[in-house]
């Protein structure tokens, strides 16, 4: 089969300009295809690593909940860990460097097993009142190391009337599911609650871990029933369903990416189909000569399809490679978001498969034309 390559190659270069332009179109289209597939896969990944065994209990109407709720939640069958949380809005040095400080206790890490923190570090955090564990992304961004003292400004006022809160970094934490992107600032709830004037003894969320993910909905309802008639009714849902709604809040990402891919592929089919049709039409006499030399009908059909495949495959390869290189750049321009764009090697294979489909779809009609051509008429110029 390799012996036919020079012939196939020669067919492509009959009109160099046309081949080059079509090649560029296909390559560009596959750059977009790669990026869109990457975004689609990235968001799917976000939902995938969301855990159905992690639940959040939030206030139903926005008002914070007493911390005592935590004990009652812990008694619900199926709940293996409960951590209270208070989020404090702060900034580091410049109001532009906004940061959410999470006031909680070591049970937080029991509910988030994907965060890597050692027992020793947890001990240190517990014993250091002003201690904080920060994610690698934050640490890298501000150049923080274990042992650093970090002053943050908040709108929450302390007992002394100050808005400055100082923390000591005791650990730098990595997220196994999203390497390099962990950006949480975790501190001791006790410190926050002691120092603050308002909302004492309140939590704005409880994070729970349950033993059976398939009971998530049931457990959520039980918890909400506990507090339905209290001053702070709750709304409990799994991280997974929360993320699904959250992703939806951006709009239907999957619909969007698939629509763009659809438009691009349609455009590509039209373009490539036209090029192949034109190219073949101009070379009818040459295909007729090949038939006189003894090339079978199926043989010349194969030659045309091969041309289409070579063109599409090479161009797609270039486009997908550029996409793969561009993706880290895109991810970096949205530093606040988790990994939302993902292009593993499997995706390149899929893209390649799509390229082959396009090649066949656009090459089929011209190939059939050539298969069926009447040698005598073609040679006579009819």
């Amino acid at each position: 089969m390799a012996k036919y390559i020079p012939l196939v190659w020669a067919g492509l270069w009959r009109k160099p300009a046309r081949t080059i332009f079509t090649f560029c179109s296909i390559a560009v289209a596959f750059v977009l295809f790669g990026i869109m597939s990457g975004v689609d896969a990235g968001f799917a990944h976000i939902l995938e690593v969301s855990r159905a065994d992690r639940l959040f209990t939030d206030p139903r109407f926005g008002a914070p909940m007493p911390i005592s709720f935590g004990e009652r939640i812990a008694r619900v069958p199926g709940v293996t860990a409960v951590a209270p949380r208070w989020g404090m809005v702060t900034y580091y040095r410049d109001p532009k460097n906004g940061m959410g400080v999470i006031g909680t206790d070591e049970r937080f890490y029991a509910t988030r097993p994907e965060l890597s923190i050692s027992k020793q570090q947890l001990e240190t955090l517990r014993h250091t009142r002003t201690g904080a564990a920060v994610g690698v992304f934050l640490a890298k961004k501000y150049g923080w190391k274990v042992g650093d003292k970090v002053p943050l400004q908040s709108n929450t006022v302390t007992r002394e009337g100050s808005r400055a809160w100082t923390f000591d970094i005791v650990a730098i934490v990595e997220d196994v599911d999203n390497p390099g992107l962990e950006g949480r600032f975790v501190a001791n709830y006790e410190y926050l609650d002691e120092e603050r004037v308002a909302n004492k003894g309140m939590a704005d969320r409880f994070i729970l871990r349950i033993d059976q993910p398939n009971r998530a909905a049931q457990i959520s309802r039980e918890i909400d029933k506990l507090f339905a008639n209290s001053a702070s009714p709750t709304r409990t849902q799994s991280e997974k369903s929360q993320r699904e709604s959250g992703v939806q809040a951006i709009g239907d990402v999957s619909f969007f990416t698939k629509s763009v891919i659809g438009a691009v592929l349609f455009m590509l089919l039209v373009l490539t189909g036209n090029t192949m049709m034109q190219s073949v039409r101009e070379r009818i006499p040459e295909f007729a000569v090949l038939k006189t030399l003894g090339f079978s009908d199926k043989g010349v059909l194969g030659l045309v399809l091969a041309e289409s495949v070579v063109l599409c495959a090479l161009a797609a390869l270039l486009g997908l490679t550029v996409a793969k290189a561009a993706i880290p750049l895109l991810q970096a321009s949205f530093p606040d978001l988790p990994k939302f764009i993902d292009m593993p090697w499997a995706a390149i294979l899929t893209g390649f498969g799509v390229a082959l489909l396009v090649a066949f779809a656009s090459g089929l009609v011209p190939a059939l034309r050539v298969k069926r051509l009447n040698v005598v008429d073609a040679l006579a110029g009819r």
């Binding site: 012996k3 036919y4 020079p6 012939l7 020669a10 067919g11 270069w13 009959r14 006499p285 040459e286 000569v289 090949l290 038939k291 006189t292 030399l293 003894g294 090339f295 079978s296 009908d297 043989g299 040698v375 005598v376 040679l379 006579a380």
Partner: protein, 229 residues
């Protein structure tokens, strides 16, 4: 000597627009193995049609076509193609080379259909180019060759798979006198030295002189050069 080509009572009709034109009717022709035959006649007389039938490019509507012992009118399209690759070499007026391939690669084309290895193909191509005297131009593309040189490449292509019969349709029609004579000389060489049967369609009497026999095709029927049908 057995006849290389026998056409018996062959008729062929073509559809032109709404009309059916009978190009050949009841034509009989016998060509001996090793002959150099010139088919002559006015334009539209059907001489190219005869060539196409002999080469298995077309089926007769009636009659029998036997070439190199095989009944062509009984073969199906796929079988015909394989048969053609083995037994026949074509040479056209306008050379019909692949513009983007070098002379070597053009000549190699028929061999791609065989099971020969790459080195064997290369060897056969060399030999063919030697015969037509174009070894030094093997790497050139058709656009870099003169008309005569291109026709020589076409001849090399036609003989590289060692067919027994060469079919030539106005091979010197586009060449000047001197070059035409060179080409006809090569054809004569292939006929006399290698015993190839050559059937050449031409309207040029000077070209026809190279042939060992001349026949006239007129209004779909044959007559030899002495004139009677």
């Amino acid at each position: 000597m057995t006849a290389a080509v026998t056409l018996t009572n062959v008729s062929k009709r073509y559809r032109r627009g709404k009309e059916n034109i009978e190009v050949l009717h009841g034509l009989n022709l016998a060509v001996e193995s090793g002959e150099f035959l010139a088919l002559m006649g006015p334009s539209g007389s059907g001489k190219t049609t005869v060539l196409n039938l002999i080469g298995g490019l077309d089926h007769p509507d009636a009659g029998e076509v036997t070439v190199a012992g095989d009944r062509l009118d009984n073969l199906r399209s796929g079988q015909l193609t394989k048969w053609r690759a083995r037994h026949v070499g074509f040479i056209f007026q306008f050379y019909n080379l692949m513009p983007m391939l070098s002379a070597e690669r053009n000549v190699e084309l028929p061999l791609l259909l065989t099971r020969l290895s790459k080195s064997e193909r290369k060897k056969n191509v060399r030999v063919a180019l030697d015969v037509v005297g174009l070894s030094d131009r093997a790497a050139h593309k058709p656009s870099e060759l003169s008309g005569g040189q291109q026709q020589r490449v076409a001849i090399a292509r036609a003989i590289v798979a060692d067919p027994t019969i060469l079919l030539c349709d106005e091979p010197t029609g586009d060449l000047d006198r001197h070059t035409a004579e060179e080409i006809l000389g090569i054809l004569k060489l292939l006929n006399e030295r290698q015993g190839k049967t050559v059937i050449m369609v031409t309207h040029d009497p000077k070209a026809a002189e190279y042939a060992s026999r001349r026949v006239q095709v007129d209004k779909g029927q044959l007559s030899d050069e002495t004139g009677t049908a």
